[in-house]
Each structure stands twice: as structure tokens, then as C-alpha cells.
């Protein structure tokens, strides 16, 4: 569903230990808000997908430009059509395990 309050930025990144620091660090040092992160490896494990939940504000364009400049970021896509419940219901994650 289309969301007006937030965007999801979808990143394709190289999968190694430092990538998360590069992404988080960028948000911290440029004073961008980051509301949620989902991350996991894909394919043979050499790459990961990251889904960043960000505010729909004036910073979005600058965030995307800055992310695109990172060496380990291979692809940046912005979505306004997504299911935000994934970011809101972390309890569900553990419940699946219990069942």
C-alpha cells in the first residue's frame, strides 16, 4: 500500500562485516533519521539486501544521493508502496520461531 509518511529505500550491497557501519554511519553523521532496518544476505551470500525505513521529508533526495556514493552500495531504489507492518511487528518474528 502507498505510504505517505515513510519511504523504504531498498539497497543492494556487498556483504561484508563493514557495510552496516558504512550505512549507519552515513545516517548518523549527516543527521538523517532512520526509522528501521531490515537486512539479510541473498544468493550465494556475496551480497545483501537492506531495506531502510526513512521519513518522507526534504532529506530524502540527499540521502539517496549520499547512499549511491558509497562504495559497497551497488543499487538504490526508493519505494512508497510497501507493507509497513513488517517494521512494526517484531514480535511476529519470534512467534514464528516458537510455533
Amino acid at each position: 500500500m502507498t505510504n505517505s509518511e515513510y519511504y523504504v529505500i531498498e539497497l543492494l550491497v556487498n556483504n561484508h562485516a563493514g557495510v552496516m557501519s558504512h550505512i549507519n554511519g552515513l545516517f548518523a553523521r549527516r543527521a538523517f533519521n532512520l526509522e528501521g532496518i531490515l537486512c539479510g544476505k541473498i544468493g550465494d551470500g556475496s551480497r545483501s539486501k537492506m531495506y531502510l525505513l526513512v521519513d518522507n521529508d526534504d532529506f530524502l533526495v540527499q540521502i539517496v544521493k549520499q547512499l549511491s556514493k558509497l562504495y559497497d552500495v551497488l543499487e538504490v531504489k526508493v519505494h512508497d508502496d510497501f507493507d509497513i507492518s513488517v517494521f512494526n511487528d517484531f514480535e511476529a518474528l519470534l512467534k514464528i520461531k516458537e510455533n
Binding site: 563493514g18 554511519g25 553523521r29 533526495v61 540527499q62 549520499q66 556514493k69 558509497l70 562504495y71
Partner: protein, 559 residues
Amino acid sequence: MRLNGSEIIIKLLEQQGIKNVSGIPGGSNLPLYDALYKSSINHILCRHEQGGAFIAQGMTRSTGKVAVCFATSGPGATNLLTAIADAKLDSIPIICITGQVDYPFIGTDAFQEVDTYGLTIPITKHNFIVRSAKELFTIIPEAFIVAKTGRQGPVVIDVPKDVQQEVLEFESWPDVSFDVLTENNLDILMVKCAAKEINKSKRPILYIGGGVLSAEASKEIKELSNKNNIPVVTTLMGMGCFSCDEPLYLSMLGMHGARYTNILLHEADLLLAFGVRFDDRATGNIKKFCPKAKIIHADIDEAEINKLKGTDYSITGDIKAVLKELIPFVEDNKRKAWLKLVEETKVKHPLVLPEACDLLHPINIIRYVSDQVPPDSIITTDVGQHQMWTAQVYPFKSPRNLLTSAGLGTMGFGLPAAIGAALENPDKQVICFTGDGSILMNIQELATLADLNLNVKIIILNNKHLGLVRQQQELFYGGHYIASKFITNPDFAAISRGFHVAAYDLAKEVDLLKALKRALAQPGPVLIDVPIRETENVYPMVKPGAPITEMIGGELYDQ
């Protein structure tokens, strides 16, 4: 072939054409130094890693070529940080190769372990930690490409000691000829729109910066400026990219820009912002910067477009490529009315110079020095009043004539940067203008300078204060002078001689200019301590946060 990681690193640096490397050895990079023992690469033993990285910066800033420095793990790496951050803000391509504790010990708080990778993320263009010797074949060449392509910047490569010692068997050197992306994806429609705006504008100004330097586009800037008669203002980074001898040169803008420069920017109807990033020291209050002008912003870094100032037209690309496309669409134009206003404004609001008889006025000292040394001399500065006086009056005629810490404003930059510049330019005179505050921040590099016996002349404009701090306390903090006057003043000439560098103390000379002339003419390194008035200020000055048209001081009263 059977080589270890260190030997592979050194060989790959040789393949990149590296001739000089600065640095300091220590526990975690000794294998690297052992490989250097067998190499043709010349090593410069600095006395502090920050000095080492600034020496590398001096090499890079004076030549445009990537330079390399080494440091060991822990304190070696942390000592580099200021100089790396400095390179980041001015987009200077240096590569720092740091030793690290053995990979299995990472995260155990081992001796001299620090998270170099984590510490350098925010201050590098990119950083690598090498997990196996095999990775060196791609990481080392890749580091040079990252440093040098697109918006340039520093790269850190952190190499654990066991990786330096890991032995590899291999048949041949892997092909490292990466396809460097030189594709020219300029938006030609935007270029044509920009040309149209230039052609119909009445009062255009070119505002140029470090991007012109990196792209080596000063010839094209001159061509555009001369063809359409567009006056040129430069940032601190852009100085020399448009010769001060050019009639259309409007000198440096911003906080300590000349009155006419800032006033004319206010009158412009079109601002051609080429290779600049609208830094607050250049623009003052950004909302009130060039209020009457449409803005065309060209930069290699797309993230700079609309970052601080909304643009009417933007072109992302290498400035040289942009200019080459743009110039054919730009018409010849005499611009008589605009240039008349420019000339009138220059006469009415000039940069007010001190009387010639005021021999020890820093501006007169700087101008006297410029008369004594060849025009292609390389000038480095530290940070503070002396830096601004140098920017205001030294006649910079070519790119890479001025090496200065512009973005980060790092005191301690001048001396090591001068050493790096002198290493790469043995045929040139190198002058370091510094202050009595700044010189102490890397004074240990006098020992490195003495080792190398380079042609560096250090001129300390000594006001016994942190002058620019004192000036701000006078102007903006009600004269509450705190922590800006030094309680004791070192005898810099004696210190210099202690380092085996010849020195003059002009306070002890009868004929000042004669002594200065003699010092400058003397071969090899010389330090010259010049006493200046303690309360001399840099004018004009724009209060931080104010529009650049609101300048304090530097008025021409007797018109």
C-alpha cells in the same frame, strides 16, 4: 613467484608509480617496512603520523597524483585521523596504509589495537580492511581508482600483520587494468540551457573552486571567462585556477573576501558555480547569498547539487568535460555595462592595503616575499590570520601554487605539506606562511625537513596570539580575551637551529628587508620569525552567519 603480503603491497605501489612514501614504522607494520627495505621506493621518516599524512597531502596537492603514507596500528593510526579528515573535506586523493594486529586478535583489545576501519569510515571516501593476502591484488589498485575517480578523496587500507606476512605462490601478476569509468554522461540539454542563460544574462559571475583544480580545467575557465567576459571569483581552494593577472579576476569571496568581490556577487544576475560546494565561509548566510542571481551549478558530485542552495540549472560531471561542451554554445560578449560597474566597484571598494612604510605589516611581508621568489613558487599556509592575508594578497597565477587546509582548517598543515611539495618539486621554491600558534602543532617536522635538506622557507607571522581567535573575541565577544594570548613565547629561531634548520629572528635584525631577502635567497631550509603587531586584524570580515555584504572593516575612507 613466492611473495608475502607486504612484498605484494610494495610491488603494487611500485606498479602505481609511487616514488616517495612517508610514514613511521611500528610493531604492526614492520613486515611492510621489511619489504620496503628491498624496494626502490624512497621512504620519508616523519616524526608524527599526522605530519606523515600531511607530507603525502603536500605531494598530492602539488602534483595532482595520488600519494601514500604508512602508519602502524593503534596510536599510529589515530595520529593520522586529522590529516585524513582534512583530505576528505578538500577532496584530496591520498592513500594511508595502516598496520593492524593479527587478524585473529582483532576485537581482543590486543596491544596497539584500535578499530582503524571504524574510526576512518566517516573521514574517508572509502576504507578497506584486508582479510587475506590474495585480496591485496584487487584492493591496492582499487584504492588508487577510488581515490582518483569521481570526486577525489582519501582511502585507508588497514592490513593485519599476519596478512602482511602471509606467503602466496602465484604464476604472474593479475591483470589490474580496471576499466576506469571515463564515460561522459553529461546532460547536453542542460548544458545548452546553461549556455542560453549565460548568453541572455546581463551580470554573470563565475564562482570557481577545488573542482576546477581537480579537473585541471583552469585553461577552460579562462576560455569561458574571456569569451563571454565573465568576471571570476574563487574560493580558497580555487586560488590560482584563474590567474590574478587576468583583468576579469575578482579574487576570493566570502568571510575575508575583498569588499568589491562580495558586493559584486550581490549584484550578479547569474552565478556560474563550477566545482564549488557553497561552503559557509564562502557564502555567508546562504539564504542571502547572490539574491538576484539565477544559479547554474556544475559539480562532479551529484550530492552537492541542491545540498545547500537550490539551483536553476545543474550539470553533474567533470568540470573540464562540462566546460568543453559548454564553451561552443556561449556567445562572444563584450559586456561593457557590467564590466564598467565591476571596475567602478573595484575602485570604490578595493581591498585596502597598508602603507608601504609599515614594513612589518603582514600584508607587506607577504607581498615582499612574493616579489623575491619565482612566480612558480609553491606556497603553503597554516590556518588563521596569516592564511587569510596570504589568500588576500599573494599573487597566485597558476593552479597548485597554493596548498592550504581550506575545508577542515587544520593548524599544523603548513610545514609538512611544504615538505611533501618540496619532495615532488625539487626545482621549485616552497614557502610556508605560518603563525606562532600553527607552527607549534607540527613543529617536530622540522627534524624531517632537516633530514631532507629541502628548499623550504618557513615564515612565521608572529603576533604572540591565536590571532583569528583574538580577532573574533575583539569583534564578536565584547573584547573578552580568553585563551588567545600565549603566556610565554618560544624562541622559534633557537628551536629551529636546535633542529639543524637555519633561522633568522627579524626582531633582532636592523635592516629587516635585507635580512628577509638574504634568508629567502639562502639555499636549503630556513625558518624566519617575523614579529608583527599583536592586534593586527584581517579585514574585511563577515560575522559568521551574516550575509557576505555585511562586512566589518576594510573601508576606503579617503575616496
